[in-house]
């Protein structure tokens, strides 16, 4: 049983304003290095420590890693037979050559109609806790098969897909190898487990930034090092993107003019989360234009201009949103830093699997 006591007064309209004022003052002081009574700016070593990569991706206890499962998941991921018309695979939108996106403002249905949201990258999802821009999926296993059965995406009824897979000897063997204890291994749940296992192996290779954090002092240029300082200080990016994944996985209303999509709010049934979308990773961001959940900005310069105060002030605006003020040189430094998160060219893309017959 639960109860909720009505509040006699709402502090929510007062406290955030006070909070913003306090934080804005503190940030300004930090930005000029004249702070008194505020937390000292962290050392470069402390900052770098926040961005150290973990050694290996985690796998859940109820879907542990095996090479057979990952290989099966890779085949399924790249197989257009998972779609109703056998013409588009998961990789059709999550293209490894395009940093696991599609380069379009918003995703496109197999018949060419625009969907409402930008295709998100798949980098480093093993560490994520919620999936899709609105977080409606609580696990990769839950997420993995949803686009398959969704009209306007892959549009394949699950029953007919499972029948199709059971008729392919290579898949019968692949599922049997991946799930050796199952009497009937070709099921929706096992397909989801295999795809999720493969997706957890999609970890971004070491970037110049990672090499710099690991101790290679010359791995990134001087302007990028200044950009890293801005990222963690004056530009305030780290408020939401400050972790080795360059997202903390939270949902924020960043003041984009609403075009009919309320994002996280309806999923939670919490109006305060309206207009909020998941903070995207910034890894490979220079290869992932256009930007935002609906691809409305073509360049990183436009994105930075948005954060310089061109956002909508409304009740749901994230408490982390404060207008920044960068000089043109600082904007260049920030972008120079973001470029160091790019996958080295030699490591871009993946080898396509041989599909089962």
């Amino acid at each position: 049983m639960a109860s909720r006591i009505s509040l006699p007064a709402r502090l929510s309209t007062v406290l955030p304003i006070l909070g913003l004022a306090v934080v804005a003052a503190a940030s300004a002081a930090l930005g000029w290095g004249l702070a008194s009574g505020v937390q000292p700016e962290p050392s470069l070593a402390e900052l770098k420590q926040r961005y150290v990569r973990p050694a290996a991706p985690p796998f859940p206890a109820d879907n542990s890693y095996t090479p057979a499962k990952a290989e099966l998941g890779k085949q399924l991921f790249f197989d257009p037979r998972l779609s109703g018309n056998n013409d588009i695979s998961c990789a059709g939108c999550h293209n490894p050559d395009l940093a696991w996106e599609d380069g379009r403002p918003v995703a496109q249905s197999p018949t060419g109609e625009p969907r409402r949201r930008h295709t998100p990258t798949l980098w480093n999802l093993a560490w994520a806790r919620t999936f899709f821009w609105d977080g409606r999926s609580p696990s990769l296993e839950d997420q993995a098969t949803r686009p398959v059965i969704t009209q306007g995406e892959m549009n394949q009824p699950m029953d007919s897909l499972l029948d199709e897979l059971r008729a392919i000897p290579g898949y019968r063997n692949g599922f049997a190898d991946a799930f050796p204890r199952a009497d009937k291994p070709i099921t929706e749940a096992n397909m989801a487990k295999a795809i999720a296992t493969y997706e957890r192996t999609i970890v971004q290779p070491i970037t110049p930034f990672d090499a710099w954090v690991a101790g290679d002092r010359d791995a990134i240029p001087a302007d990028a090092k200044r950009g890293f300082r801005l990222f963690n200080g004056k530009a305030q990016c780290a408020n939401c993107h400050g972790s080795w994944r360059f997202t903390r996985g939270a949902y924020h209303d960043i003041g984009l003019k609403n075009q009919g999509d309320l994002g996280r709010g309806p999923v939670l049934d919490v109006a305060a989360a309206n207009n909020a979308f998941k903070t995207p990773t910034l890894r490979d961001i220079t290869r992932r234009a256009p930007y935002m959940h609906d691809g409305r900005f073509k360049t990183l310069e436009e994105v930075i201009q948005h954060y310089e105060g061109r956002f909508v002030r409304r009740d749901t605006l994230s408490a982390d949103m404060q207008a920044i003020d960068l000089t043109p040189a600082e904007t260049d430094q920030l972008i120079a830093f973001l470029k160091t998160l790019e996958t080295p060219e030699a490591l871009q893309g993946v080898t396509r699997p041989e599909l089962p017959e």
Binding site: P16, R248, G249, Y251, V270, A273
Partner: protein
């Protein structure tokens, strides 16, 4: 079967609380729980205090408890009473990286945070 609203939960205004509170106190600040794990006995209560500058949304998904606080504005306290032993994870729907591990033991077992 999932027991909807499996816990006694209430939201009260922190500012209105003057007296001592026997509940285990957990603060939410800078998008983190502090402490981020507690151990209590069946029937005991945790008071989750939003000391942050942002709205939170307390969630618990567990066979014994399915709880959604709705909006928890700065200054509000969500109280959760656990009536079955087990390990529970309290998260925030808006900031899912926030996680509080609650170990609930039978009465008489050693407990503490």
């Amino acid at each position: 079967m999932t027991r909807i609203w499996g816990a006694l939960a209430a939201v009260v205004l922190l500012a209105a609380c003057g007296g001592e509170d026997a509940a285990v106190q957990v603060s939410q600040k800078n998008k983190s729980f502090n402490p981020n794990q507690v151990k209590i006995a069946v029937g005991e209560t945790i008071a989750l205090s939003n000391d942050d500058k942002r709205t939170h949304n307390i969630r618990v998904f567990h066979p014994e408890m399915n709880f959604n606080s709705g909006s928890q504005d700065p200054g509000e306290v969500v109280r959760l009473t656990f009536d079955a032993p087990g390990t529970y994870y309290v998260t925030c729907g808006i900031h899912p990286q926030m996680e509080l591990k609650v170990t609930v033991t039978e009465k008489g077992s050693p407990s503490g945070s």
